[in-house]
Symmetry: C2
Subunit: 239 residues, 2 copies
DNA sequence: CGGCCCGGGTGTACGTAGTACACTCGATGA
DNA sequence: TCATCGAGTGTACTACGTACACCCGGGCCG
């Protein structure tokens, strides 16, 4: 009876269950709370049991990236390379925003799992299908950089988490004075981006807009190069 | 005597000595070997002694970033905004390449130390001095993203360290076949970038060139926007 | 049908990490 | 001369990743 109860309750572990549990845990508790021990606990299992399904924590993280990659939409066909790339990047960005841990994990890793390679391969394919030379495609992929994953190092970002205690107004005023003296340029930019909300710290900056601004800037540059048949010195020499 | 010997040998610790020792250790042994204990050992001191000079490891890392920022050249004046930005970014890149740990540390942190804010502030200043509107400056900073630090997520990078054992030629051939089937596009790009060196894995890809390619693409885009007096919808509405 | 094997789950244990807290001890200033 | 203070110490705690030996139940072969 108890045995059967246990048997029914305990769905046997497998790699997928481990990975998706890890993703859920990281989504909900933050990547810094994702330890092998905590994950095992979440799965109602002893820590070492995990090692029957992933070699170590690194492989766990790689596996999580794979889960994420699987969520990205496949490239649309017959819409022109520019649209295809744009849509795909925005899809990647949506996945990324669903999983706040992803940026850090992608950054910390040069994950070349099959899923990641597959993503990159089909990504390259969009440019080639659009008539880009192999040479230009190469440079263009580099220019895109981490934006192909739907993120850029968001330097102005506030995402440091935790309730930001709003200081008293007079303190804020003092901070503002201080900012104005030390970092006048930052202040100007921040104020312009905001101006309706009085707080200095947070900013009403539309990440999505910024992201698309930069993305389109790059895509337009790619297009210009492509149209004028640009080729790197190197590729020209080798012909 | 021994006391004096000790006294002479033991230069008193201070924040700067701790930070520069941390930078040296990270440079030489890798960021993963930088532990409070190891750093203390390197300084001939007990681990807890460090906590008299930095609050915790996070603050140590922030301090290391400050050291790095201090190495970046100040902006040149009277050379036009484009040149000024370009030179500064390339200087940042040089610092970054001197300290391999820097990319990871910058990425993992939204460090807003005074030194970092100062860097960003004077960076913004270059655009404003070039006549950019505050609005455009804002977007342009976002578009630059991590490139303002001299790096981009180098996705094709091999920097995973450790001697890459070259497999036997027949194995390589098999791998190549496999690649050709699974990731034909990657293969084409990789082969084009290489073609003189037979190995599939490593690539003779000129990082510096790629970096400048992308940087110039962005700068050219900025210039075009600037010349045509571009303004975001939002800024226009608010006038 | 009985023994065996094999693979997923267990228990214990080790080494390393960050750091809290109470301490010592020498220089310094009253 | 003596109290104070702050840099450096010692000990100890918790949490981590994971090596290694183990158990035990189900499937297979004889």
């Amino acid at each position: 009876m108890t045995q059967q109860a246990e048997a029914t309750r305990r769905v046997p572990l497998n790699r997928d269950r481990v990975l998706t549990a890890a993703v859920v845990l990281a989504d909900e508790a933050g990547i810094e709370s994702l330890s092998m021990r905590r994950l095992a606990q979440e799965l109602g299992v002893v820590p070492m049991a995990l090692y029957k399904h992933v070699a170590n924590k690194e492989e766990l993280l790689d596996g999580m990236v794979d889960v994420l990659v699987a969520e990205i939409d496949p490239p649309v066909s017959d819409a022109g390379w520019k649209n295809a790339v744009r849509l795909r990047v925005l899809s990647a960005r949506r996945s990324l925003l669903r999983h706040p841990w992803a940026r850090q994990v992608l950054e910390s890793r040069s994950a070349r799992t099959p899923a990641v390679l597959g993503y990159m391969d089909s990504f390259i394919g969009m440019f080639l299908a659009g008539g880009f030379s192999v040479d230009l495609t190469h440079h263009v992929m580099h220019a895109l950089g981490s934006r192909m994953w739907g993120f850029t190092q968001e330097l102005f970002d506030d995402s440091a988490g935790a309730a930001p205690v709003e200081p008293a107004p007079e303190i804020q005023a003092a901070m503002l004075q201080e900012m104005a003296k030390r970092y006048p340029n930052i202040l100007r930019v921040a104020m312009a981006a905001e101006h309706d909300d009085g707080s200095v710290v947070s900013q009403g900056c539309d990440d999505q807009f910024e992201f698309e601004f930069a993305l389109d800037l790059l895509l337009d540059g790619f297009e210009r190069f492509h149209q004028q048949g640009w080729t790197s010195e190197r590729a020209r020499l080798e012909r």
